[in-house]
Amino acid sequence: MPDILPAGTLHDAAILAEARPPAARVLLDLWRPLRALAALLCFSFLGPFAWRQDFSHIDARAVLSAPSWAHPLGTDVLGRDELARLMQGGATTLSVAAAAAAVAFVLGLTYGLCAGLGNAWLDRALMRLLDAVLALPSLVVLICFSALMQANDTAMALLIGLVAWPPLARLVRNEAAALRHRDFILSAQQLGAGPAYIAIHHICPAMGRLLAVNATFLVADAILSLTSLSFLGLAIQPPRTSWGQLLGEGVELLALHAWWLVVPPGLLITASLFAADSAGRALLFGRKSA
């Protein structure tokens, strides 16, 4: 499960100061990924209303059948309609990924703020603990916690969230530590603002874009983790499934040239990653950072 650090700490002064892209350009950049995300959400959540097949109906006669009118995307090992399973899988993947991203976001933000804005000793202690957590292979955490939790979607989201928050914490801590000495923070302090007020009203909004960018990257990484988890055997409760599991099952049977089991889930995962990733990048390069 690749932990790749998002590019939140980049600075970007345009060469010609006068030609800096105004806020409108951001919406232009955001439009493409938002459109892709909307399409995926419709496919996953609204699809089942249009395509009436029951994703868990087992049909012994139609095992591993190629795409046909009855099953536009063919059937899987148990003869269930692949298109319906992709829709249900999408609903699970996107909701679990979003929940996991939320968990990681909240944990990472609070931890980072405490470390960034606290006194020197608190900062040093929290950062050393963070180094230890970052150095711990996420695998060990996954296996140990997976056994403790009743395997349902919320547990899965908690699990992924628990593993994904450290990189964000480090980023938030660095940014907060840099921001606390900026003039507009000193000016607010001079006007009598307390530390909590400063954190909520000034530090977080000033980091607004960094947080938005990383929120989208967290969603992208959560989708990826869900895919890798199924390989480790920590799966979604059948008969429901996730895109990652469908991809895993498809790859197992690749020798059968059953392309309809591999290509659609692969494309859907890539599309969702593209949407989340380019939304983040559009936010990052849209407006000048705080």
Partner: protein, 563 residues
Amino acid sequence: MFLTRFVQQAYPQEIKVFWFFFSKKNILPFAALLLAGAAPCGTAVIPNSIGQAPPSPVTSLNPLLSSSVANNQLTELLFRPLVWIGQDDRMDAARSLAASITPLDGNRRLRVVLKPWRWSDGVPVTADDAVYTWERILKLGDLFAFTHLGGIPDKVAAVHAVDEHTVDFVFRAPTNPDWVALNGLSNFPPLPRHAWGDLGPDDLWPRQTDPSLARVVDGPFILTELHLDQFAALVPNPLYGGAPAHLARLVVEFMEGSHPLAALRSGELDMTHVPLALWDADKRLTGFKAIMLPEPFGYTCVIYNFSNEAVPFFHDARVRRALTDATDQKTMVDVVYHGLSHENRMVVPVVPPTWLSPAARSGNLPVRGDKVLARAELEAAGWHTGADGIREKHGKRLAFSVMVRADIPERMELLQIWQSDLRSVGIELSIRPVTTMQIEASLSCGCSSWDALVDGNTIAGIPDGSGHFDTGGDFTGGYSDARMDSLVRASVEEPGEQGLFAYEDYAAQEQPVTILPQGGFPLLVANRLGGVAEFVNPQGFWAPEELFVTDEGCLRPDGGTRR
């Protein structure tokens, strides 16, 4: 010996022990073999735990200390047990170390006569070696991996050598000789007292992967290399008493979790498991042949947690029978196993049919997989269909969850079919995929953290119920029934099969666990490798001396008949 010490120091992690087996003492017999023209020839590379899914690591060379199949597949090649179980789940005379087994004075004593085999260092295998093994078992106590199987050691009063090749097993009470022979003596290998010496648990335990303890062997192969988590290399034992091996070098590669199919196609492996869906792949891939290994002698079953008050309905035999009746095993066999399996609702495996009771053979069983019967049983038990189609009784819904290990795809598929079957009769099942460890820990914890779980069970020898379905038995979720206890005791103590058949028919009535169909092992084998069909026995143990290769300039030993 210096070379070994040096190699161990220089390559601590590669425990590579090259010792020359052409030592002076055994050059003569080897030459004799050469003259006979059946010289061992060629190398074969096969993945470990063929015949048992999924592959697990080799962690011990000591036959008394580990019951995992992956270890036993190797130890059975090195230290031959007194009794080797054949394809029909009876004693295989050719491969067993025991020449004959005769019960004496009213089944209180069992006399075993050994074949005149020799250890690989030339010393003959004597009855004293069997007594030495018995002394080790007593010393190991609870550490002995096969304790309680076949009455060893709890039902055995004493073991003593009558003469150089005869050993007597004296029992505390009359016991069924077949049960002792097949279930007990099949895990009882004589050990070289002269090579090992007086070793207790504190010596044997830490040296489980020490190859020096596996140098003097009486099995068909000698271990030359053991690289943990990589492979083990074996060469034929020239002094083996049984049929000599055809291969000059057998390599067992440890393939945990990987995709062996790709390795097979690139020529590194000579055979491998394939997913059932790829069963007819040999039509597409040239240069390979598909061989179907028979199912292992055992069953896959759903075990219920009788000590969990949240699911009291498991105590009602009618509900249990309904659970089995509702199972559409025909769809399971067709869809999951592509028709390559058998419907089975008995605690006694259908393949091989050796131990089936007359009632089972004729097919009139109390449960036949009939949904109408299932609904009737549930109504009789007081469970009426609720609002959402799920049955209710005194406000409690007939719903439970089942834990299953996520790394065996077939079990997940079976459960999803079972889930839709149960729903059609008004029972709601939710499936919890977990890690293997969690299943084993739940089985023996007696706690109420689980409702039901799926587990496989391989029977060593006679499919008796002792230690399972009798009160206090393991691996059945705390099932206990007075009549079942007496029947199980009878099947163990009285000779003959009547006791077993009575227990079998009552178990079909009780359905303490719900049996699910179990598949065989489709193998894809490279055309260069032969003798694959019979080399695995129902318990999943190997006899690779049958294997031979047709390239590298080797002759076909069987004249081209065996596949």
